[in-house]
Amino acid sequence: MLKIGHFKKLALVVTLILMATLVFGCAPDETLEAPTEAPSVGEPATEEPAADEPAVKTSITILIPDNPVAFNGINTDTGYEQALGELVMLSLSETDPNGNIIPELAAEIPTLENGGVTFDEETWSMTVTWKLREDVYWADGEQVTADDVIFTWDALIEADAWIAAMDYTESVERIDDFTFIVYYYEGYVFPYYPLQFGGEDFFVYAEHFCDAEAGFYEWNCDDQPLSSGPYILEEWVDDDHLTFVRNPNYFEEGKPYIDQVIVQIVPEEPVKQAMMLEGDADLHYWPAEPASDVYKEPGNGTKYAKSPTERWVMRLIPNLYVKGDRETIHPFISDVRVRRALRMAVDVDTIVNDIFLGYGVPVWNDFFRPPFNGCDIPRPEYDLEGAAALLAEAGWTDTDGDGIRECHGCPNAAEGTVMFMEYAIYAEYGETLELTQQFIAESWNAIGVDTELQIIEGAIMWAEEEDGGTEIAGLFEMDMWDDGYPGTDPADQIWTFYYSESDWNYGRWANEDMDVWIDEFYSLDEEYRLEVACEMASILEDELPQILLFSTLEQHGLSERLQGVLPSANDPVTWNIANWTLEE
């Protein structure tokens, strides 16, 4: 009969055995190692294995926080779909970090000069002729042809999906295996046609592989894409990881240099940072600002990389009408002097340097990215006294001594109306934005504007009107969130935010001159477009339909050994993954 003491001894022995197993039980054999010698650019990172030795493969790990939805640049939810799509899918063109559009599947970018683009000034109609490379093959050996591009386009149309210029395009006509022509409707000029079948949104799918009957949103290619890019999807474990291996049929000889890419889904920031510092990961996608600080520190095996240009601009969106009412103008936000005063009261430098830890750049106008950044719009000053004076000039003064102004002679409100507004941000950005909101609210309070701070879920903020969507239904007074256009052309974003008939002109600002200039902006004359951009920049500066504050940086944390990563505001960071190398 066993006694209690026997149980104790048995438990002790079992515990010791388990501990020994865990301590001495090494991780399973690693079959993937980084090479010990740094490869030079242009040479593959792997070496040819000896006949009787197992091949040494190179591998990197990329950390993202969410499970991607699909290999589909249009049906996106997490923002990482495009980044992963770049590993396996090609499009006709790409944009490099400096804004240069480069051909990918296209043999060259069609232009007026090379005859690829025609424009009839009488009928105001244009065509674009695309010629494809003839040396690109799918992973199954089939050649990539114009049929694949047209197949993809037709699938988008059939599914009522939407990409830029879909409503301008009359038809797409195949000329031969590697040539097709795009006809645009008369009266529509599409200046950024080079990215219509390119950039981060459009991937070319294989006609012979994708199940057209299932449709663009539900076909097999969403999670089992046939690759034309540098990598092939080998494994996808939902919410855990995706594994990509090199595509032997990739058209750039010798590339990709890295044999395997593991994309690991790690929801929490501190865990991602810990993995980077332990050397278990090579790229931390969009780290929070404190993590970026860590990656900048020398000697911890990591480094920091950012794009030469910025994209995402944090902006205040004022509703010029009463919350939920599109007929009644807002008592004080509708007055441009008040909007100017609110802007004057925001200390952007402190926000950028102290809250965003320097990971931002002050921006005050939508035309801040090349080539449209040549307009002479002076940077607004931070001036609390000036802001207070402007509010007083607008008829808002504090006569009862409670620190909050009331209307006394203001143009759009009843006498005595208190200067109070709701001020909302979206929840998903995180603590940094909350601190920014609080800081700005304090500044406004200092000049006599009272606010109620709100943090709203993104699923509510951008929901449809019937679902109580904050923005589209005008259920807000002052919002703050970030936005930025992909690629290099702001035309669509400008139309979206500022055209009087745009549903996404959330503040309901209307200016006839601006509408005219927006229409003019759709031109093929680059010089003229620069002039038009400056006209619009002046109007936006005069009227402040939105108050731009600063641009956050397109930044990533990298391992020391990972080379060739060029973050870009114009494309996901993986845009040139075929060129990445490892160096110990």
């Binding site: 006694k3 209690i4 197993t21 865990l22 301590v23 001495f24 039980g25 090494c26 991780a27 399973p28 054999d29 690693e30 993937l32 591998s59 790990t61 969410d66 499970n67 939805v69 049906n75 996106t76 939810d77 009522d160 999906a161 939407w162 949103y217 969403d222 939902d238 919410d239 855990d240 594994t243 593991i262 690991q264 889904i265 790690v266 929801p267 929490e268 501190p270 865990v271 810990a274 993995m275 510092l277 332990e278 278990d280 998903e428 879920e457 993104g458 699923a459 509510i460 951008w462 929901a463 449809e464 019937e466 679902d467 109580g468 969507g469 589209i472 669509d492 979206t496 549903d503 996404w504």
Partner: protein
Amino acid sequence: MNLPLFMGVNMGQYIVRRLLQAIPMLLLVSIVLFALVNIAPGGPMSAYSRTNRMPEENKEAIRRSFGLDKPLPVQYIVWLAGNDWMPVDTDGNGVTDSYGTRKGILRGDFGFSYKNREPVLDEIAARLPNTIYLMTITLLAVAVVAIPIGIISAVKQYSALDNTATVLSFMGQAIPEFWLGLILIIIFYSTLNNPITGKALLPAGGMSTIGADFSIVDRIRHLILPVTMGMVGWVAWYSRFLRSSMLEVINQDYIRTARAKGQVERKVLYKHALKNALIPLVTMFALDFPYIFAGSLYVERIFSWPGMGRLFYDSATSRDYPILLAVLIIGAAIVIISNLLADIAYGFLDPRVRYD
């Protein structure tokens, strides 16, 4: 076959009656959940509005494909019973042109995810085994740790051991789970190294080492920290509960009688006292059974565990209604069943219990 009498009632009859009662309860729960989910602000179309300036007609087409263009009661009927028996307007021209394709949850069709258009059951099936795996081991670990602590604390009441267990229990219940998980990673991943390999002592997350062959040791190493994080609060709770239950039992007359009759103390404790003290604990375990399905969001997020907790959270934040409703309604069904199991277990273990 003679089924045991359950408080004078045939066990089978009792179970059948409870299951029949569960049907209207589940129906009512489904209505409430469906209404709450759909009435709450926000919607699945926000993913198409944030960065894609999709024209209204395109959004309408997507809403139509999701069935969101129908009134809420119709959406509920379709969700419940399908629409393959009713004509639908697929192209939005106001004229019905075919029958629907949905069969409804009553026939096992939970629809498709609004995010990735995959069948809801496929999404759940990809994650449920991971959660069952993690939570079963966690609950077993809780039982293995909490029961001895509860017994010893009761038997050696007010001893140094009991006082230590008490303090640790309060700490365990007070410690934020999320913080504990991060601390465990800092200690066992970032700080401590394996003395042999020089690598981190334990992994930071995931179920196994990516790309490696299956290994029991690897699996155990990946379980240690998430199980520890998950069990601390539960151990604190269950050990305290068992302590109270044991104290109540060991002061009973029949225990005193057993000792007086010369029974050895070990037999008094394990054969007479513990068996009775465990009765309420068994029912508590039965009531916690739904966690095996639902998982723990905090554990899964901190340790990157691909389970049901994260699926639920992601579907809630992105308003992926089909997945959200599936998780909720299946969870409700499991709660009802586990309550039934708890009642049955309690009735078996304690013959004094009477149910009408």
